[in-house]
């Protein structure tokens, strides 16, 4: 969450709670919202590493609030973030290892493993469909996030299908 918070601060100074609200507004209700505590902790770390600076602002009758702004180093870090490409999603995950190793152990059936994994993916897919239906139609970013998740899951389901085709041929 460090870089997204930095990116939000690139627009101008803000305090922790504002940043939480901005994230919610941008990413929609489907995005699992960080709690405000997490945000304060992350802001603390960013300040320690010199990427942002906080200033106490007095509030009448309430504790001071801290308004943060981006430092030059923070702006550099953001440039570097946008410059870099990201890692590809993983294929060789824990499930793949189970599938590969199951026959040698004699402890699990490969088709049963695939069926169970598919059930979980399908349930998650259904949950995502419901999130998409509940999301504000005008929030394009939120819908793209959900659609991205669905397309990844679809690819994983297609791959399970391939595994099953191959393995059933052997039987």
């Amino acid at each position: 969450m460090r870089l997204p918070l930095l990116a939000l601060l690139a627009r101008g100074p803000a305090h922790g709670y504002e940043l939480k609200q901005d994230l919610e507004l941008l990413l929609g209700s489907a995005y699992p919202q960080p709690n405000v505590g997490q945000i304060y902790v992350t802001l603390g770390r960013l300040e320690k590493s010199g990427l942002i600076e906080g200033e106490d602002v007095e509030q009448a009758g309430r504790p001071n609030k801290k308004v943060y702004h981006l430092t030059d180093a923070g702006r550099e870090a953001l440039h570097a973030w946008f410059e870099e490409t990201e890692d590809e999603p993983r294929v060789r995950d824990e499930f793949f290892m189970k599938l590969a190793l199951a026959p040698q152990t004699g402890l699990a059936d490969q088709i049963a493993l695939i069926n169970r994994q598919r059930r979980q993916y399908l349930n998650t897919m259904r949950h995502l469909s419901k999130l998409a239906a509940a999301e504000n139609r005008d929030n394009r970013v939120a819908h793209l996030l959900i659609e991205g998740a669905m397309l990844h899951l679809q690819a994983d389901l297609d791959w399970l299908e391939r595994c099953q085709e191959e393995l059933e041929e052997l039987e």
């Binding site: 598919r118 059930r119 399908l122 259904r126 995502l128 239906a133 899951l153 391939r162 059933e168």
Partner: protein, 250 residues
């Protein structure tokens, strides 16, 4: 789902082999299936797994080599083509991947035709058609020919045609197979809406997103049911689930 003990659709021991050029293709190899009133069942699997053949057997578009089918508890074993044709107007609505609309009939006539053939008075057929087209967002398209509509619109007309006689069972064979992702979402939304009103649906699709609209998913491989799973769709699954897929990493 109601407590009605008689399933809308039941099949036992269905077998179908295609004899074309080359080796015989065993499309359906012993399928038992029970669909209760109000259920929305999706059948998924790789292309060539035989899932479309299964749907054709269930709608009487092809006859099984062996096995039996019951509609509302009534055995269909002895039915000839004429009887199946009647039931496809009365008890079963079907939508296909390529819509199969009558190209030289208007949208309105395409939808009204099955009602008129089923003996519905013209006035009522018109009223039903008007309601359905309005419901499906096709008002103003009544006089268009199918070829003048987009794929998504044609599929909605096909859906109206399939539902005009209020059949207890809707069969859908890759209904989004020739649509873009916007059209797919539209089909998904409409099937979900009709299902919420109690429509029983059997959907064949290779698209997991579409399948996830159903509350039960059958995985079909090599002519057989490999898995039959109820989707909960309620609370997010344990651990990762949807939020795990969506979450941005630290």
């Amino acid at each position: 789902m109601s407590d009605d003990p008689t399933p809308v659709l039941r099949a036992e021991g269905l077998v179908k082999t295609h004899h074309g050029e080359g080796a015989p293709a065993r499309a359906v190899r012993g399928v038992d299936l029970c669909v209760r009133r109000g259920e929305f069942v999706a059948v998924t699997g790789p292309s060539g797994a035989g899932k479309s053949t299964l749907l054709h057997l269930l709608g009487g578009l092809q006859r099984p080599d062996s096995g039996s089918i019951w509609l509302d508890g009534e055995c269909a074993d002895g039915w000839r083509e004429a009887r199946w044709a009647v039931e496809r107007r009365r008890r079963i609505g079907i939508v296909f991947q390529f819509f199969n609309l009558v190209s030289d009939l208007s949208v309105a006539d395409n939808v009204e035709l099955p009602a008129l053939l089923a003996g519905v008075p013209p006035k009522r057929a018109r009223a039903e058609r008007a309601d359905l087209l309005a419901e499906l967002g096709l008002e103003g398209k009544e006089r268009s020919l199918p070829g003048e509509l987009s794929g998504g619109e044609q599929q909605r007309v096909a859906l109206a045609r399939a539902l005009v006689n209020r059949p207890p069972l809707l069969l859908a064979d890759e209904p989004a197979g020739s649509l873009d992702s916007k059209g797919t979402r539209e089909v998904m939304r409409l099937l979900t809406r009709f299902h919420q009103r109690g429509q029983t649906i059997v959907l064949v699709t290779h698209d997991a997103r579409l399948a996830s609209a159903a509350d039960r998913v059958i995985s079909f491989f090599d002519g057989r049911i490999a898995d039959d799973a109820a989707l909960d769709g309620g609370a997010p699954p344990r651990r990762a689930g949807a939020s795990g897929v969506l979450e941005l990493r630290d």
